[in-house]
């Protein structure tokens, strides 16, 4: 037990600091992925001239490995666009790209699953397409896709460990640093794994409760 205390408990502030960076990166990536995914999805479905571009981006984001995207955003974008100008930004942007591709497809499935009669009820009282989308379709998509969206957050959390490679000081980065100080990986890496497991489980459990609550209240949501 002495090793656990020395290597893990006594380093708790370092690990916590790393965990907060992980949270920060993941939260930004998650928010950007939702906005980006929604934008890609709406472009693909409703803006005919931009459909091929949106489809290409969605497929590209989904089909390239997250590690490649991370390197690409971190080393290629600054050359091409002069942005991002920090490792931290490059980290969450890369994470957001991949998830936005997946979420775009999730949103598309959600939009297509809203029954036609729902829109027609809006049209029949004189709502235009934008109002129907904003007031009738998207809120229902948010409810039906909530579990999948939460699940995507856990994917982001797991992928986020890779940002340590570009020196973003997240939990994984701090944990590796500790390993490199003492060359005693067992306790530290095991504790790190446990923290990730606990966090992902907690998020999943919240997602489950959320979808149960939505189903009870609104009678919609995937089983």
């Amino acid at each position: 037990m002495g090793n656990w205390e020395r290597l893990v408990w006594n380093q708790r502030e370092v690990l916590l600091e790393g965990f907060l960076v992980t949270l920060h990166v993941c939260a930004l990536a998650f928010a950007a992925a939702i906005l980006g995914g929604l934008a890609l999805c709406l472009l693909r479905m409703h803006v005919r001239p931009l459909r091929p571009l949106a489809t290409l981006l969605i497929e590209f984001f989904r089909a390239t490995p997250i590690f490649v995207q991370l390197m690409w955003v971190n080393y290629v974008w600054p050359e091409l666009f002069g942005w991002p100008n920090s490792f931290f930004t490059a980290g969450w942007v890369a994470l957001a790209l991949q998830s936005s591709g997946y979420l775009a497809e999730t949103f598309r499935a959600g939009i297509e699953a809203v029954p036609r009669g729902q829109r027609e009820a809006g049209e029949a009282v004189g709502m235009g397409p934008a109002l129907v989308m904003a007031r009738i379709v998207l809120p229902q998509v948010a409810l039906t896709t909530a579990p999948a969206i939460v699940n995507q957050f856990t994917v982001i959390v797991k992928s986020s460990t890779l940002v340590s490679v570009i020196t973003v000081q997240d939990l994984m980065f701090q944990s590796q640093k500790l390993v490199n100080v003492w060359y005693e990986p067992i306790e530290i890496l095991t504790a790190t794994a446990a923290i990730y497991i606990a966090f992902v489980f907690a998020v999943s459990a919240c997602g489950k409760r959320l979808s149960d609550a939505l189903r009870r209240r609104f009678g919609i949501g995937s089983g």
Binding site: P115, G117, Q118, E120, A121, E123, A124, V125, G126, M127, G128, P129, L131, R135, I136, P139, Q140, L143, R217, F218, G219, I220
Partner: protein, 260 residues
Amino acid sequence: MDDMPAIRASGIRKRFGELEVLRGVSFDVRRGSVVSMIGASGSGKSTLLRCINRLEAPTEGEVYIDGVPMGFVEDRGGRRRARSLAEINRLRRDLGMVFQQFNLWPHMTALGNVIEAPMRVRGLPRAEAVALGEAALEQVRLAEKRDAYPAHLSGGQQQRVAIARALAMQPKAMLFDEATSSLDPELTEEVLAVMRDLAQRGTTMIVVTHEMRFAREVSDEVMFLHDGVIEESGPPGQVFGAPRSERCRQFLSKFIGQAR
């Protein structure tokens, strides 16, 4: 002005690809009258109703609401141009539609469903919309369910909320598309009672229905559709009592005991 029909359909045709569902339908609905449309499945009743509020655009023909054409505007030189979607949406406010599947919005409460269009489409302030919405829910006898979500209402209650939702826009006429067809018999009656009540208050109504007794009791005029045309029409006593068309007689014979 008083002679002007609330709704006039003139030469409505509707084609879906090769299939011609409506083959030239014309009729008038006087203000304050109730017109029932009966006929077998596939006779074109629902499509006709959907052409009236332009959820389907007729392939030919025109619908007039208080003399105003739904599909086109005429400039001073008499040239016609098709109406934009925004213009059609403006006219649609005057027609309340009730669907077979209710189509309540599941993410809004009963009151939320009812005040949505008055607020977002007509731009009423919330307090005014709520007053209007509560009155509409009162009218369908569901005031106490104002905060319930659709998932917690019975089919009959959902349909009554849907009626309230249409009423809250204070339409010139109400269109009922088989409003009771997906309800159990005991729930059907509570919806029919609300519709009867509306008819007695002088609401202009077009009712597509399989409820022959209701059609007979409440309608001022009954139209029998067959194969995309109005095969027979007249006062309910005539259509149900002494139909001239053989097809209408055959159709009604399936409902013996319900209406006659």
